[in-house]
């Protein structure tokens, strides 16, 4: 076997080891209830913003915190405390939320949110009908 082949083989082994090591870092999508089984451990939870209950943000008290209510895919609703900054734009318009965080005392402590906003076509429809 050539030296190059041996070295390549070694590199591939190392690479596979490194990739599998990152698998340990991969998180999983959970519901509020399944996340509550391990309080304090962070997961991804998919859910929907409760428009009726709105956002509570008081930057004078704490500019890094706001709270809202979200319903997860299983239909359970919990209060979400976001501890990572100001409310993102259009959160109240979002179709779906992916929240990073953990359950603690019946609330979801959240450090990151990704929003899925209504697609362009859906928005088109609304505007068109309204016009």
């Amino acid at each position: 076997m050539k030296k190059t082949h041996i070295t390549l083989l070694l590199l591939v082994v190392v690479a596979i080891a490194a990739i599998s090591a990152t698998f340990i870092n991969f998180s999983t999508y959970e519901t509020f209830n399944s996340a509550a089984k391990e309080p304090g451990k962070s997961y991804h939870v998919m859910g929907y913003f409760d428009k009726g209950k709105g956002i509570h943000y008081d930057p004078k008290a704490d500019p890094n915190k706001f709270t809202f209510y979200a319903t997860d895919k299983a239909g359970t609703q919990h209060e979400v405390i976001f501890i990572n900054g100001a409310p993102p734009r259009d959160i109240d318009k979002s179709e779906q939320l992916v929240m990073k965080g953990y359950m603690k005392d019946n609330t979801f402590v959240c450090s990151g949110i990704q929003m899925k906003c209504p697609s362009k076509y859906k928005k088109d429809m609304v505007v068109g009908e309204g016009a």
Partner: protein, 836 residues
């Protein structure tokens, strides 16, 4: 049907679609004729030549048609023809002219057009320069143009199958169900377009997509040359042009990626130039593989080794561009990326999948077909040879690409993983840390090899000279590492090693350029680009290792974080700071004060905030340095009635950047105007306390003159002399005026204001009990500073200029190499022949 509607301009759309059809048919024709030219080349040369002439004509016609499509769409956008869906959804009347071009790349169709445009320009160059490989390379390029052309066709088969999307689609066709289109004069109701996404209204967004797409387009040429080489079985003539095009592709794609980083840094508020976002990764990975392919091609050129690896890498690089398109355009990344495009749904998903499969089939199929015939060298390379280590370096780059794309592609493989493991995989909780912790090792190896391989010679290196040079370079690098590491307090072991190898790459490149190449400019390509690369690594390390927020909030309630939550998370969560109007807040070594805004929002609702930064001398208590930053934000931007969209403002020093952006601001249009408060003053020295600052009454002044009120002969004017003190220690003279007109027939009051303090003072009345006992009622109005505030995040990026400079130098190095290749003429090194 069309005649039923009033006020539409249908001609541009019809013309535009005609041009689309022409460009598509011309590309198809060109592909076919180039293919015929290639296949008859060996049997019937004159017949082949006539096919070639037809093919060229077809491709030139195709290019002209694309230019016409572009011009027509530009006409539709600049004339605000909102009957067209594209103009309506991506532009509006108030869009500044300089951003009209950005409308092209906000939409799916426009960016495919841009991509096609670059391919056709590149195609024209290849047509003129490829010589005997023209028919084959151009057959591939024209074929890809046909494929891209299908993206614009907008053909429908039944309800479910759609091929491509026509950029000239009418609004009423795009939204057929909307009731408005049942009235013939619907154009009267369409007052304005939807407008351009505000995060795209930025100069980086005007220049960065064309550069990035040129980079994407350039990856096609090495792909086409490799296919052509496999097709003919001639593995020599493709070497030189492929090196040149790979260099150009590497330079342009690299520039495009970093311009994207600069855009993110300058105008997005995700706090940096690189976030390992899937969209960023998707453009980085093809670049890594292209660079790997470039280096193995250099090995092949000089030693005849590594041909199969070269072809694999270069084919893969272009396929990865299509894979990136698939990832970013179909919405499959939807839930993992911050800025993935909105998906165009299933039609595009399968369309791109078929394209990817077809191109992979051509590349991989041909490679397998020729695998046995590829020239190879039986002997083994020596350990002390440039080719050996350069090959290892290329392999490491490729492995890095595999790692990054595996993690990025999570949404692609997660459904399969769920079936096997039952787990619903999500991206890492802290993606940046995950990528950094693996890629730091890649950076270490590549940094080391970037320096090391320069000193090696192909085939055999003299060990004694090599070790001597390495020893010197390593010695200097150790000193640099110690100095920088100590100065910047870099202590994590793997980052110290990375610091060392980055320094090593930098020092080795300088040493090689000086000592071996004797600064002969045309040969300096490798040393300059490796120097730039080393500087990029160094810049990344320095700017991200000590990146820190100076806007740490300490006023809020401290949350009790669970043990499992990273300490980092806790720190992260407090990086926003509330800045009430006019109050200095400590930020790092600065005091930041929000002192005003552009108050009258433009029609695009953009507000600039004035934030003053003062650096105080601790002992002398005087301001040592003062500067202003103007972060801006769109408050309740159009179509988004809540929240804001912010653009950062950055103070650049040579050795660090102070990067700020608005997280939240009060909406002035909704704020209530505060009411007047009444105060009584009598004796000089009486003090009135304000919401911010205070005022001292100095006494009355009779028959006061005021430029704003020319007093008549029968008027009695009295001024209240007041000094207002603001919270910064400044004082302001004020003299609100009280006038008895025509000896008391009527009253007139003239207010005085201090703009800086947002203070209004009115001399309302006075009360005379005796000549010695005169009191006055003074009314003041001042906005409550706590009602006017911004929430600011401020980050420090140390030595980020090293990164930007490194990129520029690296790209410059690529161009030196291209220059050398072009001016060398047809002299290919004879290494291949000798090796055989």
């Amino acid at each position: 049907m069309a005649a039923e509607f009033i006020g539409e301009h249908l001609l541009p759309g019809k013309l535009g679609y005609l041009f689309i059809i022409v460009s598509f048919v011309a590309a198809l024709f060109s592909t076919f004729t180039y293919f015929k030219a290639a296949s008859t080349e060996k049997t019937d040369l004159s017949g082949s030549n006539s096919w070639l002439r037809l093919a060229r004509g077809g491709f030139i016609l195709h290019t002209l048609a694309i230019i016409c499509i572009f011009s027509t769409l530009y006409y539709v956008i600049t004339n605000h023809l909102f009957e067209y869906h594209y103009a309506w959804s991506h532009s509006s009347y108030d869009l500044p002219g300089k951003y009209l071009l950005s409308c092209f790349w906000e939409g799916q169709e426009g960016s495919f057009m841009l991509w096609m445009f670059w391919h056709s320009v590149i195609g024209l160059v290849v047509m003129r320069t490829a010589g005997k490989l023209e028919s084959r390379t151009m057959a591939i390029i024209a074929m890809v143009q046909v494929i891209l052309g299908t993206m614009l066709l907008g053909l429908y088969f039944g309800d479910s199958i759609q091929i491509g999307s026509n950029p000239f689609k009418l609004l009423r066709h795009a939204m057929q169900d909307a009731p408005i289109f049942s009235s013939p004069n619907y154009m009267n109701f369409i007052k304005d377009g939807n407008g351009l996404n505000i995060s795209l209204q930025n100069y980086w967004m005007v220049i960065h997509p064309p550069v990035l797409f040129l980079g994407f387009a350039l990856s096609l040429v090495p792909f086409a040359y490799c296919v052509a080489a496999l097709w003919t079985g001639d593995y020599k003539s493709f070497i030189k042009p492929t090196i040149a095009w790979s260099l150009l592709g590497g330079a342009v794609l690299g520039t495009g990626i970093m311009m994207g980083g600069a855009w993110a840094y300058e105008s997005l508020n995700f706090g940096g130039y690189w976030a390992w976002d899937p969209v960023e990764n998707a453009s980085l990975v093809p670049w890594l593989v292209l660079i790997a392919g470039l280096h193995t091609l250099l090995i092949y050129k000089s030693t005849g080794r590594a041909l199969s690896a070269t072809i694999i890498f270069l084919l893969l690089s272009h396929l990865l561009i299509w894979y990136s398109t698939f990832l970013t355009r179909t919405g499959i990344l939807g839930k993992t990326s911050v800025h993935a495009f909105t998906g165009d749904g299933e039609a595009l998903y399968y369309h791109l999948l078929i394209v990817l499969g077809w191109l992979a089939l051509i590349g991989v199929g041909l490679l397998l077909l020729r695998w046995k015939q590829l020239p190879r060298i039986k002997t083994e390379e020596t350990t002390l040879s440039r080719e050996f280590w350069m090959f290892i370096g290329s392999a490491v780059l490729c492995i890095s690409a595999v790692m990054i794309i595996t993690i990025t592609s999570l949404p692609v493989w997660a459904p399969l993983a769920k079936k096997i493991t039952g787990k619903d995989f999500a991206p890492p909780l802290n993606p940046v840390a995950t990528y950094n912790s693996t890629q730091v090792w890649i950076a270490i190896i590549i940094g080391l090899l970037a320096g090391l391989t320069l000193f090696m010679k192909y085939k055999q290196t003299d060990a004694a000279t090599l070790w001597k040079r390495i020893a010197i370079v390593a010695g200097i690098s150790v000193v640099m590492t110690v100095l920088i590491g100590w100065g910047q307090k870099i202590t994590t072991p793997q980052y110290v090693v990375m610091l060392f190898t980055s320094c090593f790459a930098v020092v080795a490149s300088i040493a090689y350029g000086l000592q071996v190449q004797k600064l002969k400019f045309r040969n300096l390509g490798p040393s300059v680009s490796h120097f730039g690369f080393g500087a990029v690594l160094l810049g990344i390390l320095l700017s991200s290792y000590n990146k820190h927020a100076i806007s740490i909030n300490t006023t809020g309630e401290v949350l009790n974080f669970g043990k499992a939550t990273a300490e980092e998370e806790a720190k992260e969560s407090r990086e926003n700071e509330l800045l009430p109007f006019g109050r200095a807040v400590a930020m790092g070594e600065y005091f930041a004060t929000y002192i005003g805004d552009s108050s009258v929002p433009g029609k695009d609702r953009r507000v600039y905030y004035k934030v003053r930064f003062d650096r105080m001398d601790a002992t002398a208590k005087k301001v040592e340095e003062q500067f202003m930053l103007y972060p801006d934000a769109f408050i309740n931007p159009k179509g988004n009635e809540s929240g804001l969209s912010a653009n950062p403002s950055t103070k650049h020093y040579w050795n660090r950047d102070i990067f700020t952006y608005i997280s939240m601001a009060t909406d002035k249009t909704k704020a209530d105007t505060s009411s007047y408060h009444e105060h009584q003053v009598k004796n000089p020295g009486d003090t009135i306390y304000l919401k911010a600052g205070y005022m001292v009454f100095n006494g009355f002044r009779k028959n006061a003159q005021d430029a704003r009120y020319p007093a008549g002969p029968d008027d009695i004017t009295i001024a209240a002399d007041i000094t207002a003190y603001d919270v910064y220690g400044g004082s302001h003279k004020m003299a609100p005026l009280f006038v008895l007109q025509n000896r008391g027939e009527s009253l007139y009051r003239l207010e005085d204001t201090v703009k800086l303090m947002d203070l209004y003072v009115r001399f309302d009345n006075f009360n005379v009990k005796s000549p010695e006992d005169i009191s006055a009622s003074i009314q003041t109005k001042q906005t409550d500073p706590m009602d006017d505030f911004i929430v600011l995040k401020a980050l420090v990026f140390p030595y980020i200029n090293v990164l930007w400079l490194g990129v520029i130098i690296m790209v410059f190095g690529f161009f030196i190499s291209i220059g050398k290749l072009i001016t060398t003429g047809g002299k290919t090194r004879t290494g291949v022949l000798k090796a055989e």
